[in-house]
C-alpha cells in the first residue's frame, strides 16, 4: 500500500475488556480467543474491513474496543 493511504487499526483496551467475547462472535475474521481464553486481535489493520470492525466495536458491551487511525507498527 502507498504511504498516503489512511490506515485504520483495531485497538483493545485491556483495562476495560471483561471477556464478554461479543466481538469474537461478530467478527471472527478479526478477533479470536487465545489459549487462555483472552480476546486477541488477529487482524489489527482493518483498513479494508472497516464495516466489520465497526460492528465489532459496536457489539462490545464494555466499550473496550476502538478503531484508531494509523497502524500498530507505525
Amino acid at each position: 500500500m502507498s504511504a498516503s493511504t489512511p490506515r485504520a487499526t483495531l485497538v483493545i483496551d485491556r483495562e476495560r475488556c471483561e471477556g464478554h467475547c461479543q466481538c469474537v462472535l461478530v467478527a471472527p475474521d478479526l478477533l479470536d480467543l487465545d489459549d487462555t481464553g483472552a480476546v486477541v486481535i488477529t487482524v489489527p489493520d482493518v483498513t479494508d474491513r472497516i464495516d466489520l470492525a465497526r460492528k465489532a466495536v459496536q457489539a462490545c458491551p464494555a466499550i473496550a474496543l476502538s478503531i484508531a487511525p494509523g497502524d500498530t507498527w507505525g
Binding site: 464478554h20 467475547c21 481464553g37
Partner: protein, 392 residues
C-alpha cells in the same frame, strides 16, 4: 451548549397500562424528544438509542447511586457493584464478574447444554407443555441454584425471591410494597448464609474461599451472593421465555431457525432487542448537566428506556418487526459500559442451550394465548401453553 425547551409527559411508565404494553407509550416518548421529563414519575427519561449509550458511557453525569426508583432499595443496594461508581466500583465488579466470564463458564457449558436437551426432549415427547412453567422457570432455577450451590428450602424460594428482587426496584407503588416481604427474605437469607450451607466447589462456595484468602471482606460475601441470586433469575427467565413467545408469535421466523439452528445466537439477540427483559433502569444525576440539549438539574432521578432505544428507527430499520436473522449484537438489553450485565455470559449459555434444543426438537408448534404477571422492571411471560407440537 444550546438548550431546547423542556419536553414533559404525563405518561406513568410504572402504570398497569404501560407495563401491559409499553411499546406505544415508549414510541410516543421517543418521538417527543431524546430526553423527556415524566411528571407523574418525577424522573427524566432518556428515550433514544444513541442517547442511552451516551448516558450509560457517561457514569460521571449519570451515577449508579440510584438505580432503583425508591429510596429504601437504593439504601439497601448501597455498596454493591450495581449501585457504586468508580473508583470503588472497579474491585467490586472484578470480584462479581470473575466467575461469570465466558472463559470461567466454559466448564459448566456442556452440563447446561445436556440439561436443556434432556428437559426439552422430555417435554416434546409429552406432546403439550407450558413453555414457561414446565421449561424455562425450572431450567433457570436448576442452572442458577446448582451454580451458586443453593440447596434445601432456599432453592424452593429462589424464583419467588428473584421476581420480588426486581419488582422492588420500582417506585413505591402497590407492586413494590407487596414485594418487599419476599425481597426481604432474600436479603435475610443472604445475610445469614454460611459456606457450609452451599455445595462445595460451587460459585457461591468460592466467594467464601475468596474471603478466606483475604481477597474480599468476609462481610461482603452475602452482598455478592445476593447479586447472583437477585440478578440471575428473573431477567434470564424473562428473556428466554420472551424468545419462545416470539417463536410462537412469528412462525415464519421460527421456521428459519429450524432450518438453520446456528441462527440461535441471532435469534436471542433479536428477542433481546425486540422485548428486553428489563424495559428500563435507573440512574442518578448528581449535578446539573446539559444532555441532548436538555438541562437536567442536579439531584434528579433519571431512567434509560432500553425498550424504547431498542426500537429506535434512527438505529434499527423496521424496528417493530421481529427478524430472526437480524443479529442486533449491539442492542441495549444488557446495558452498556462499566455496569453492563455481569451475568450476560451465563444468560447467553442458558439461552443458546434452550433455543438450540427447541429448534432441533420442534419442527412446528402452536401455543395458546400467553399470560403475563406485571412487574415494575421485568417484562416476562408467566405462562405460554404449547398445545401442539410437531417433533423433528
Amino acid at each position: 451548549m444550546q438548550t431546547s425547551e423542556l419536553v414533559t409527559s404525563q405518561i406513568d411508565v410504572f402504570s398497569d397500562a404501560v407495563l401491559r404494553d409499553p411499546y406505544p407509550y415508549y414510541a410516543e416518548l421517543r418521538e417527543m424528544g431524546p430526553v423527556v421529563f415524566l411528571e407523574k414519575n418525577n424522573l427524566w427519561a432518556v428515550t433514544r438509542y444513541q442517547g442511552i449509550r451516551d448516558a450509560l458511557e457517561n457514569h460521571q453525569a449519570f451515577s449508579s447511586q440510584k438505580v432503583a426508583f425508591n429510596d429504601d432499595m437504593n439504601n439497601a443496594l448501597a455498596g454493591t457493584s450495581l449501585a457504586t461508581d468508580p473508583p470503588e466500583h472497579r474491585q467490586l465488579r472484578k470480584t462479581l464478574m470473575g466467575p461469570l466470564t465466558p472463559r470461567a463458564l466454559k466448564s459448566i457449558e456442556d452440563d447446561i447444554t445436556v440439561k436443556a436437551d434432556r428437559l426439552v426432549g422430555e417435554l416434546v415427547s409429552r406432546g403439550s407443555f407450558d413453555a414457561i412453567t414446565d421449561l424455562v422457570r425450572p431450567f433457570v432455577r436448576e442452572v442458577v441454584s446448582d451454580m451458586i450451590g443453593v440447596q434445601g428450602v432456599a432453592r424452593e424460594n429462589i424464583l419467588r425471591w428473584g421476581e420480588a428482587a426486581f419488582n422492588v426496584l420500582g417506585p413505591m407503588n402497590q407492586r413494590t410494597i407487596e414485594s418487599f416481604p419476599a425481597a426481604g427474605e432474600l436479603f435475610h437469607w443472604c445475610a445469614e448464609v454460611t459456606q457450609a450451607d452451599l455445595t462445595e466447589g460451587t460459585l457461591g462456595w468460592g466467594i467464601f474461599e475468596a474471603a478466606k484468602r483475604g481477597e474480599i471482606a468476609p462481610e461482603s460475601c452475602g452482598a455478592i451472593i445476593h447479586q447472583y441470586v437477585a440478578a440471575g433469575m428473573d431477567t434470564t427467565i424473562a428473556s428466554i421465555g420472551n424468545a419462545i413467545g416470539h417463536f410462537a408469535a412469528f412462525p415464519e421466523e421460527y421456521a428459519k431457525l429450524v432450518e438453520n439452528p446456528a441462527l440461535a445466537r441471532s435469534a436471542f439477540n433479536e428477542s433481546l432487542r425486540f422485548e428486553p427483559p428489563a424495559s428500563l433502569f435507573g440512574r442518578y444525576v448528581k449535578a446539573d448537566v446539559t444532555f441532548e440539549g436538555t438541562m437536567i438539574p442536579g439531584g434528579s432521578q433519571a431512567a434509560v428506556l432500553f425498550a424504547a432505544g431498542n426500537r429506535d428507527p434512527r438505529h434499527y430499520s423496521d424496528p417493530d418487526t421481529y427478524k430472526i436473522d437480524r443479529d442486533p449484537a449491539d442492542n441495549l438489553a444488557f446495558g452498556y459500559g462499566i455496569h453492563t450485565c455481569a451475568g450476560q455470559g451465563l444468560a447467553r449459555i442458558e439461552a443458546m442451550a434452550i433455543l438450540t434444543a427447541f429448534a432441533r426438537n420442534v419442527r412446528r408448534f402452536k401455543a395458546d394465548q400467553p399470560q403475563r404477571v406485571l412487574n415494575n422492571m421485568t417484562r416476562a411471560l408467566s405462562s405460554l401453553p404449547v398445545v401442539e407440537v410437531e417433533a423433528q
